[in-house]
Symmetry: C2
């Protein structure tokens, strides 16, 4: 059996943790399996390197920043190989160049294009554990690139795909994916299984156990993921294509406070208005989430409200103001003190009454809904930020998701 | 004009020093020259990385240690490129893989075999300053290697050779090569010029401005070196094939305290004795320096004394004891409290009376000589360590080397 095991930066932050990871790898190896280990940079190394770069040149080129940052994972993998060797486990570290992890040219946010497996296969066949740098690649110029946020998870999934690994284990500082954030909902329950799509919704809604890019890639290549803890031996959460929906209609409740509502008032109620508005925003690569258009507005005007990530609000507002003549609206309203509460589950669309049950929970808790949006596997509502926790608890309880 | 500039770790230890180096590079670039910069790892980075490795695995494989250590220079060059960019100088950093700096496979002590110039030439032609990692290479397995002590100087000289550079400047924390160590001999004078051979003798005798490997390489390829200060603008010392010997018969006086004398007593006075003794030591890759055989020993026995680096003494002694039967000697005597004083200069052999003048200086100072050895360009004497400084001053004065 070939297993890919990915450990994040906090799992290799110091000597003790490095040996904790090495011990788990040793067990897997001694069970007779082939093991590929993917590592991030140790602890806060990446942030420290970014800080060093900023100190030298706040507008350093991304090319040079990637040249600097890729040292972080290279140090991790070398030290891990040394730790494994000290335990009698033959091991070798490889960086993005040595594997040949080809990416697009976009420094700082590159996409994996092709991974050569020759060297990895050869090292595995010679009986070694292969320890590979996550997060990094090389482009067609023979320059280092980095994959951006969630990069190491993506590396692990991509390696599992090209190596046809039997398992891809993502080790984190939590024990798996929960029905809600355990810090907010004390009786939140760890899920045994979740589908790729549910995981995508959960991740985009603030339950950031896995980055969406890695889940999308896993879905595309059918790589079954296990999210588990690097500290405990508890079984993790399996992320796969189909789970037993009978067992669990709803996977969890997620909250996203990093969201703002923008309402564009008094738009002309003619064809093309929405297109013009959102195309403008799209061109700035700003992601729009919930969209609601006013219903039954008097006369020939309409309002359109939508949500964007809180840190993009100013940009959107100034963009709207700059295009006020073209878009022809009367005013823009911004609400930043809002939170999005989402119920996620593969059974949502196929089960009548889920939405009304969610609204009932919120009504019972005396919480007003500011916007509503539904999809195949998700119902999202926007509430005042101060009610976020209360809303989560109410919905979590209503659907009896807790222990 | 193409200039290779090499800066050591202390020259790039912090932000201020990085910008100090960047400023000098900027001046060279704005004078219309093509510039290749070779850097070591910042400050104590290499030692810190070695310490980290030791902490994880004191017997880590050299392969993994090199994988770890090569991050040191990669961080330096990335930060230097950023500093240059912030000053408006187009710059790009390249590591051993990106240049393609091919070496032998010997991790930790690799030898440069071939340097590709394509990428460097292309970057220079596009108007960039090229900042290259010193000390490191890649071997035929596509693994990182390091060049061992003096590695970055060697990288700079090798680059100057393959790029046919017009100058190769080695920046250090001293202003050049002196007639004697200025900390011991206050009126020591900075040399304008010195030959490769003199430099080799000076370096091996403790005046460690340049490592011998880099000087040997410079001699082989006729690369003219300039040793100068990274902190002041004083003109440095030029190292080249031929200097004006009329001007300067003697280049300087060097001292080496890191030396021990081993005397092997009562050897059989038959052919092959010396061969057997030194072949044994050679096979352990231990360098032997001065060798003196007793003259006029009574009977059929002889004594042989020689010097080795102080840290290899124990090894040599135990080697001798293990082979006592084969070598047939009566006893071994070790003196560690000795120092080697050497007079170095291209004019020594061709000028009568140099040796007797040196011995006269020592005699006048009341210092006994324990061993004597001469070569084309060097006279070395072994004295008691407590007289080392006194001996240096006496010889330096006698030859009027000071200001």
């Amino acid at each position: 059996m070939l297993v890919v095991k990915k450990f994040g930066g906090s799992s290799v932050a110091d000597k003790e943790r490095i040996f904790n990871v090495a011990e788990r790898v040793r067990e897997e190896y001694h069970a007779g399996n082939e093991v590929v280990v993917v590592l991030s940079a140790m602890g806060k190394t990446t942030n420290e390197l970014i800080e060093q770069a900023r100190n030298i040149n706040p507008r350093a080129s991304r090319r040079e920043l990637d040249m600097l940052l890729t040292c972080g994972e290279q140090m991790s993998v070398a030290l891990m190989a040394m730790a494994l060797q000290s335990m009698g486990v033959p091991a070798i570290s490889l960086n993005a160049w040595q594997v040949a992890m080809h990416t697009s040219s976009a420094y700082g946010n590159a996409r994996l294009k092709k991974i050569d497996t020759e060297r990895i296969q050869a090292e595995l066949e010679s009986g070694k554990v292969v320890v590979i740098t996550g997060f990094q690649g090389i482009n067609k110029y023979d320059d280092y690139t980095t994959l951006g946020r969630g990069g190491s998870d993506t590396t692990a999934v991509a390696l599992a795909a090209v190596l046809h690994a039997d398992a891809c284990e993502i080790y984190t500082d939590v024990e798996g994916v929960y029905t809600a954030d355990p810090r907010i909902v004390p009786n939140a329950r760890k899920l045994e299984e979740i589908t790729y799509d549910e995981m995508l919704e959960m991740a985009s809604l603030g339950a950031k156990v896995l980055h969406n890019r890695s889940v999308e890639l896993a879905k595309k290549y059918g790589v079954q993921l296990v999210v588990c803890s690097s500290l405990t031996r508890a079984p993790g959460t399996v992320v796969k294509e189909v789970v037993n929906v009978e067992k669990m209609l709803v996977s969890g409740v997620a909250v996203d406070k990093n969201v703002s509502r923008i309402a564009v008032m008094g738009l002309n109620d003619v064809p093309g208005t929405a297109f013009k508005l959102f195309n403008l925003i799209y061109q700035k690569k700003i992601n729009v989430d919930l969209i609601v258009q006013s219903v039954g507005y008097s006369g020939d005007k309409k309002d359109i409200a939508f949500t964007v990530a809180a840190d993009r609000v100013e940009e959107v507002v100034s963009l709207l103001e700059q295009n006020k003549e073209r878009l022809q609206f009367s005013s823009v309203e911004v609400s930043s003190d809002v939170a999005k509460i989402s119920l996620v589950g593969s059974g949502i669309m196929s089960t009548p009454g889920m939405a009304s049950k969610m609204f009932e929970a919120l009504y019972d808790a005396g919480i007003n809904t500011r916007m509503i949006s539904t999809s195949e596997i998700k119902i999202s509502v926007l509430v005042d930020e101060r009610y976020a926790e209360k809303a989560m608890l109410a919905v979590h309880d209503k659907f009896e998701l807790g222990d």
